[in-house]
């Protein structure tokens, strides 16, 4: 299985562990991730304004590059996934945006949302299969009680993200079971961590992080996993007395014996 891969800015800097463990685990699973050449920052937030195309161009360039290689595009950071998936949806379904973007970019071939965008977790679930992962685990994380923190970006809006049931997701819990650990279900697993609010309003960001951590602890979690560098930062740095929190790729690499 060979895919185009979009790591994004944070995975090259503060979120290196998310990327490096993801690559090691993929290799072990027989998945080839070909990093796109000359990819550009996705912009970190999806531009909701219908009259803006400039903020969507970097995503379209990545999508068109994957299309040229005839490969699905794998993302790993929740924010990159959210932005690129939604821009792709715009290019597929909003004629006006697609026309303006294509007029501006003048690609060799117009881009109209042809590329499949898959988050790394979706690749694990839908392409590799959790049952196969289970068979490849050499170091099952037995007895570890792990709370999956979904946050917002992977799940909502579900009609565009089509990632999982946005109110009652199971993909990360299934992942936790596949690596031999015990998932802990808690109320705040799909509530906001505070997001970019940490830049201008630390107090509000802390309030949000504390609610998530308290909810996970209440249900007996001993550690947490996430797919987002900003979620990890907010819970760890803005939350009081956070549980140990890891990128899901780190635990995958550990279970596969390649950490």
């Amino acid at each position: 299985m060979t895919y185009s891969y979009f790591p994004g800015c944070t995975l090259k800097t503060k979120g290196k562990d998310l990327d490096s463990y993801g690559r090691k685990a993929a290799e072990k699973l027989g998945v080839v991730l070909e990093e796109l050449e000359d990819w550009q920052c996705c912009g970190a937030v999806y531009p909701l304004a219908e009259d803006e195309i400039a903020t969507k161009l970097s995503s379209v360039r990545a999508l068109a590059a994957a299309k040229a290689k005839e490969q699905p595009l794998i993302t790993l950071c929740s924010a990159c996934h959210h932005v690129i998936k939604r821009v792709n949806n715009d290019m597929k379904t909003k004629e006006d945006i697609a026309l303006r973007v294509n007029n501006y970019l003048k690609l060799d071939e117009a881009y109209n949302g042809e590329t499949d965008v898959l988050h790394y977790l979706e690749m694990l679930r839908d392409k590799v299969g959790f049952d196969n992962i289970k068979k490849m685990v050499v170091n099952p994380l037995k007895g570890r009680k792990i709370a999956a923190y979904y946050g917002c970006m992977l799940l909502r809006p579900s009609k565009e993200m089509q990632f999982d049931d946005s109110e009652n997701p199971t993909i990360m819990e299934d992942f936790i079971r596949a690596i031999g650990a015990e998932p802990v279900i808690y109320a705040f697993r799909n509530e906001c961590c505070g997001g970019y609010m940490t830049v201008n309003d630390k107090a509000l960001a802390s309030k949000m992080a504390n609610k998530v951590i308290a909810s996970a602890k209440q249900m007996g979690a001993e550690e947490m996993i996430t797919a987002c560098p900003l979620c990890l930062y907010n819970l760890k740095e803005n939350g009081e007395d956070c549980l140990p929190i890891y990128y899901f790729t780190e635990l995958l690499a550990e279970a596969l014996g390649v950490k």
Binding site: K14, A44, L48, C152, R156, E191, G195, Y196, T198, L204
Partner: protein, 123 residues
């Protein structure tokens, strides 16, 4: 001005049936002066000046809880973003300056936080 907000957001605020789910689900509700469910009716009524001056523009987290749970596709986060765009697209309308950044930095802050804040607070 209401027309501008409708055009930028792509939302028809007249579809709102005032069920209040958006405000009920908003994690930043307590921080806001104008609440998500009020945005739709205030755009319809042309009370745009109040929206342009609202603290809510800088408290919305874009978590999309209101978007997900709106049964009428009014999706207040999109209206809030359109109003915020109307503010930050004006000269002098930025809410965040690069000069503010050095004192906000710490060694762990991920790049995506700064990128996101600049995209939300500045043009």
């Amino acid at each position: 001005m209401s027309e501008n907000i409708i055009r930028i957001s792509g939302i028809n605020p007249r579809q709102c049936m005032k069920c209040g789910k958006c405000s009920a689900t908003c994690p930043a509700f307590d921080e806001m002066d104008v609440h998500p469910h009020q945005f739709a009716s205030m755009v319809v009524e042309g009370r745009v000046d109040e929206l342009l001056a609202s603290e809510t523009l800088w408290k919305c987290l874009s978590c999309f809880a209101c978007v997900e749970r709106c049964p009428r596709s009014v999706e207040p986060a999109k209206l809030i973003e359109a109003v915020r765009d109307c503010v930050i697209r004006q000269k002098g309308g930025s809410y965040l300056s690069p000069d503010d950044i050095p004192e906000k930095l710490d060694s762990e802050l991920p790049q995506q936080a700064l990128m996101a804040a600049f995209r939300k607070y500045r043009k």
